[in-house]
């Protein structure tokens, strides 16, 4: 009787869903094929509970089956299957997943052995309360104290940070998840019906633990990051890109040790991204843009793995997560090219390289006081500190509501790569090396209007075996005065 349950596709899905897990289609395929029956209960373990999904690898591990050929491109989840429904509940589940995941990170970090539920905190006054919640309605009171609302899955309460507390100056974003340690005073008599509040003493963010980048002493193995190539645009810097490819094909030490090349989105200029874009295009047909890109990329030597991720200019859906480019486009490229969704956790040689095109950077930069397009480093660190690379909800970056939000940094990356902004910014946050990769497009009309000068034609090389990072500039002379 029990085994009967697990031969039905829907029943299997229901089984995992009831435990808050999603099943990767490839994993489901194997489960069905191998008639795993009750064995699948073993798939509910620490690893799957933490990630929220049952992946193909989990199933393969269970049955001790074949190792996959290139573990780097194991899909955590098929992004194509993430679709929007007209359901409020989907929106809620997305935020609950984010809340639960980030909460467990905060709790596991140590400061919070026990967390109070907000509904219990609301009920009575207390000298010390510890809660974890998602922020909204950040305001300033009439007297200059900071005030915000914090929610868990059942209730909410308002939190005040007095202005003399140095934390009051910190940037609080809507929808970020924080731990709050503070007091819940007795409601004063004259305002019997007033809302309870917490006076916060301390705020705890999920954050990235400090760590060292290990230097293995092995010969270098470089991962090269470039982004925003915008092939097809009149402002695509052809010469710069050609000389980059010439260098890749050269026998210099650096290029010889280059094993991985990552293109993190906006690889072509696309069409219809903004009104009247066709006036700025040299190639109007997006298919031809990719063909032209393939002409370039296919020149990369075959010992280099190439990874292509889409961005907001590419011809996949605009809403994130974005699936990999379509088969019609993929077949233009040689086999060494691997296509990734956006965002993506790429694992190479036990290193985690988190890739995100970076559409939400625009939204975040605006929220940084005094922020502008040059504040991209600040914005990236803001993401890492909050363990979330997505935007504040309601901004200009559409995200498809789903129970598994790939914008969460579930694991701390060794390298974090973004693009989109067209500036080049290299940094290190608590041992996470990060880069906002350079573009291969010269200043656009829009950027001119926004008074922003990009840093085009820079390739960034990360050594997987040491902390070495190298910047190579391929900007043709004509552009560089």
């Amino acid at each position: 009787m029990v085994s009967g349950i697990f031969t039905d596709r829907n029943k299997i899905l229901e089984f995992f869903n009831s435990r808050g897990l999603i099943v990767d289609p490839a994993a489901l395929q194997i489960i069905m094929e191998k008639s795993l029956g009750t064995m699948i209960t073993h798939l509910i373990d620490n690893e799957t509970m933490k990630s929220g999904i049952v992946g193909r690898q989990n199933v393969l591990n269970l049955i001790g089956g074949n190792q996959v050929k290139n573990p780097a491109v194991m899909r955590e989840i098929d992004v194509n299957d993430i679709k929007a429904n007209s359901s409020v509940e989907d929106f809620r589940k997305m935020f609950v997943n984010r809340y639960e995941t980030l909460k467990s990170i905060i709790v596991n970090a140590g400061k919070f052995r026990e967390v109070d539920s907000i509904s219990s905190v609301r009920e009575k006054d207390s000298r010390e309360v510890k809660i974890v919640g998602m922020i909204s309605n950040v305001t300033e009171t009439r007297n200059g104290h900071k005030k915000f609302r914090i929610e868990d899955t059942e209730s909410y309460i308002d939190v005040i940070i007095l202005k003399k507390n140095p934390m009051a100056k910190e940037l609080l974003l809507n929808d970020e998840v924080v731990g709050v340690i503070g007091s819940r005073p007795r409601a004063s008599n004259d305002r019997e019906n007033s809302e309870p509040v917490i006076f916060a003493n301390e705020l705890i963010r999920p954050d990235v633990p400090e760590r060292m980048i290990d230097d293995t002493g092995l010969p270098p193995e470089y991962v090269c990051s470039i982004s925003d190539i915008h092939v097809g645009s009149k402002t695509f810097i052809k010469n710069g890109f050609s000389s980059f490819l010439k260098w890749i094909n050269s026998s210099s030490d650096e290029s010889a040790n280059l094993k991985h090349l990552i293109l993190s989105g906006d690889v072509v200029d696309g069409i219809g991204v903004y009104p009247n874009q066709e006036n700025d295009l040299e190639i109007v047909n997006p298919k031809e843009q990719y063909e032209y890109l393939a002409e370039f990329v296919n020149q990369v030597p075959s010992d280099i793995n190439v990874y292509i991720m889409p961005g907001n200019h590419d011809t996949v859906r605009l809403a994130e997560p974005q699936p990999e480019l379509s088969p019609a486009i993929r077949q233009m490229f040689t086999e060494k090219v691997t296509f990734l969704p956006n965002p993506y956790n790429l694992r190479i040689k036990k290193k985690l390289i988190t890739l995100y095109h970076g559409m939400s950077l625009n939204d975040l930069i605006e929220l940084i006081p005094g922020g502008n397009m040059n504040s991209v480093g600040k914005a990236i660190e803001l993401m890492l500190k909050r363990r979330y690379m997505g935007p504040v909800y309601g901004g200009r970056t559409p995200i498809i509501p789903n129970q598994f939000d790939p914008h969460i940094f579930r694991d701390v990356p060794d390298i974090f790569i973004t693009g989109h902004i067209h500036g080049h910014y290299l940094g290190n946050y608590n041992g996470v090396r990060y880069v906002n990769s350079s573009t291969w497009q010269s200043q656009t009309e829009y950027q001119k209007m926004m008074n922003y000068s990009p840093d085009p034609c820079i390739a960034t090389l990360f050594d997987l075996n040491s902390k070495t990072v190298i910047k190579k500039n391929f900007l043709p002379k004509a552009f560089s005065e």
Partner: protein, 1088 residues
Amino acid sequence: MATISETDYQLLVRKKVNECYDVARVARSRGLDITDRVEIPLANDMADRIGELLNLKDISQEIRDLSLTMSREEVALEMAKRTAQKYSGEGMDKAVDMSVRVGLAILTEGILVAPLEGISRVTIGKNFDGTDYVSVVYAGPIRGAGGTAQALSVLIADLVRRQLNIGKFQITDEEIERYIEEIQSYNRVKHLQYLPDDQEIKNVLKNCPVCIDGEGSEDEEISGHRDMERFKTNKIRGGMCLVLCEGLLQKTKKVLKHTTKLGINDWDFLEKSGKNTTDVAVDRKATKFLGDLVAGRPVFGYPNRPGGFRLRYGRSRLSGLAAASIHPATMIILDDFVATGSQLKVELPGKAAAMTPCDEIEGPMVLLDDGRHLRIRDEKQAKEVVKKVVEITDLGEILISYGDFLENNHVLEPSPFVMEWWNKLAVAANVPRERIIVRNVKDAIDLSKEFHIPLHPDYNFFWHDLSVEEINELGDIITDSVKKKNYPSISGADKTEDILKKLGVEYHTVGNEIILDDKNILRELMGNFRHIETTDPMECISSIAGVTIMPRAPVRIGARLGRPEKAGERKMKPKVHSLFPIENTGSSRRSIMDAAKSSHSKYEVEVNVRKCTNCNHVGPEVRCSECGSPMKDSGTYEKIKVDLSKIWNSALDNLGVSPNDLKEFKGVKKVMSKGKHVEPLEKGILRSLNNVSVNKDGTCRYDMSDVPITHFKSSEIFLPEEKAREIGYEPGMNELFTQDIIIPMDCARYLLNVSKYVDDLLEKYYKMDKFYNCRDESDLIGHIVIGLAPHTSGGIAGRIIGFSRVNGGYAHPFYHAAKRRNCDGDEDSVMLLMDGLLNFSKDFLPSTTGGLMDAPLVMTLLLRPDEVDKEALNVDSQSEYPLEFYEATLKRIKPAEIEEMMKPVKYMVEKTGSARGMDFQFSTKDLNSGVLLSSYKTLETMSEKIEKQLNLAKIIRAVDQDDVASRLINSHFLPDMFGNYRGFFSQEMRCTKCNAKYRRIPLSGKCQKCGNDNLILTIHRGGIVKYMEETRKLMKNFNLPPAQMYRIENIFRSIDTSFNSTEDIQRVETHIENPLDNYGEIEEEILE
């Protein structure tokens, strides 16, 4: 003429106005209103108005004296200096502030609120070197002042600054960058008439001695250059952008004219900027009317394309001041989309024009489904055939006056060869009188040969639309037919029909034969056919015919439907009868009756606090609801407990009205004015009884599109003979007095109700005699209204003399100009004078910026032609144009060069001080002819409108249907799909129970206000899908450019791969709203 003199007319108007004031003063003095005086002061002239507007009565005489010798602009500068002197003791900022306002008030004739609300404040700031500077902070309503006044206000600030020895403004490089970014952002949000380049902005900012600052007026913020020390707001400062770009930079010449005269060379930097250097590209303007194509508003012609509206010069008695006339049959053939009063966006001479009917010009030419190709000559015929039209090969003529070219400073385009012109040539060539009437084509040719004048226009075709090859081809066909004695039958081929359509020849078909209905013109002209070696079709046909043939339609004017005409009572949303605040006690319908009856009839609300002089009762009433004694205004407002049911009952008692007499009675949620004054409930009760609603200022308004008229027939305006004489007119055709208006029937019905309301008010509330005593609409004739336009705060007295069936207000061009309106699609309002005097109070006006706009802060009694907006002075006044005019048009000269010869009404006003004695060239049988209600307004759904729009694009020869479809997709469908797509993923959630909105769904899924767990989406997928279907339809039926196809595929793919395709989509019946439909005016201007 037996019509009374202008002086007598003015006496009549003055007497009527004074009667109203006398009655109103008595009524208001009874202490039954929030103030005891009539709050609309009378002004005799501009100087009076300015004094009243600024509440500086002592300056009126000074302005009057200076005006005797100085131009208005000079008076403004001089008065500003004097004002600065006067106020210099009260602080530098006050002195500059007052003088800029005085100057601006003079420049805007004391009618606009710009001097009050367009300048938020003037401050004295510190430069980084420690010196002082003047900063003028502009606000949104400065827009109404127009570019010149905006620019001169900066100059005034500079003059005063010099006088008071305040330093110059010194700008930093970073601040300049901020301005540049801001201006570009503003242009994206609101669109500027003139967008300067960075260099120009830099040049002005570096040199302008006064700081042009502004209130953050837009929702959008700038993204770079934020949090600046001297410019605190990060929002876009709309007022600043306008003054800098559309003011200083667009009107450099005006500023320089004055600085040169004043001998100030600080402003010479302007010589290098703005309109001085860059002449706006002409061809860009030509297609501009297409650039902002709107869904559901058809295009009638592409720029200068055969088949479009043909330019004809002249003024009808219903045109001028930016209104043009077309044949009533054309209105009908265009599927009723163009009605009288509808705005057409046009290629030239201005941007837009209101349409009026004229049946003395040519109507449209159409091809019917039975093969007939014919010109439509009257409305009746148009109605008969309109359903059978398969192609509109020619839209007919559009009558535009010389004055409109003059006003827009648009070069004169070549005139078609018309009767007026031919007649003058014939007279000049000494053609005997009896031969000027030409009976047939033979006569015409003989006459031309004998007197060496071009062929008579009645026998002309659009030869210039054919190539020489086509003319030769046609010649062969005609010759062949004549030889075979078949004429007027010719053997038909598609090509031949095409040539005949282009040429504008009438024909019908019998089997394969084409039968020409051309009065033998082609036979006579081409009878002697031989091939001519030339490339010029006009030369070719002239040679063939042996007489000079002139171009019949050298200029076609592209056009599309702009704003549809409007006429309707003003209703606040939702409709309101009384300015009495009931908070949330009246349910969502804001019903005062419900509120008074409910258990919540005592509630707290913020109101002006009044105290009973007898029993110490406190409340918002003017008469105590406890004891009936007067209540005294405490001068403050507070949140106090109001006992509505008591006030309600006392009001009913007071009026002797039973609550059962009222059907509905609605109040407001709260009062928005500064002092939170509350209107006596009695007024609202009587409004409800008479089925009229109240505007925010306490008056009852009727809004309508502006249309001009200078001469009327008493019969067409339903003016009975004896009434006509009574008010100073004769039966038959009359020249209109400048303050007389002809209102729509519907307006008359509404004002009749208002008059009954006013009479009730006088009788039952003020306990006085009735004033109007109107039994039916015709009794309104002779009564006075206040005409008042949005953005202004100065009304003008007008007199009702009759009624029309159109949806627009017919009035004299000078009357419209006195309200600072023209007739290019503007609209404004009327209210009964007595209603305004009894019920208007400044204390009701919202305290927000712009609250003073559209309120009758002052009323001008008599219209002075020399004080109206000078645009009206350019209106034609002659009964005919001289021969030299037509010849001059061929040279494309500037209209100003022949102004003296053309004598616009300006010349009469200068000579006699009056606009009496104007004439016109074209009449029309009835001002009610043509279409009265645009189908844009009768078609219910946007889909239907779009369908009709595309159908017209298909059948009008002058329109490129594929281009229309493509523009429609670009301007509507693509942005809508993108917007809804993005919107879906960042949408707010709403509580079904308490309507609370959440930026993000609460994690608990429950409403934090009421605990309800049913929160719902606010943006639905059905909306997105609907646009996809409409777009697919267009993709199938039209040829779209490849780039657009890729764009569409792109967004389709994005949508398809983002949503779960198996899900049932909730069908949302979406209407593609035109934002312009609901708001009109302000938004429309932004689009310009």
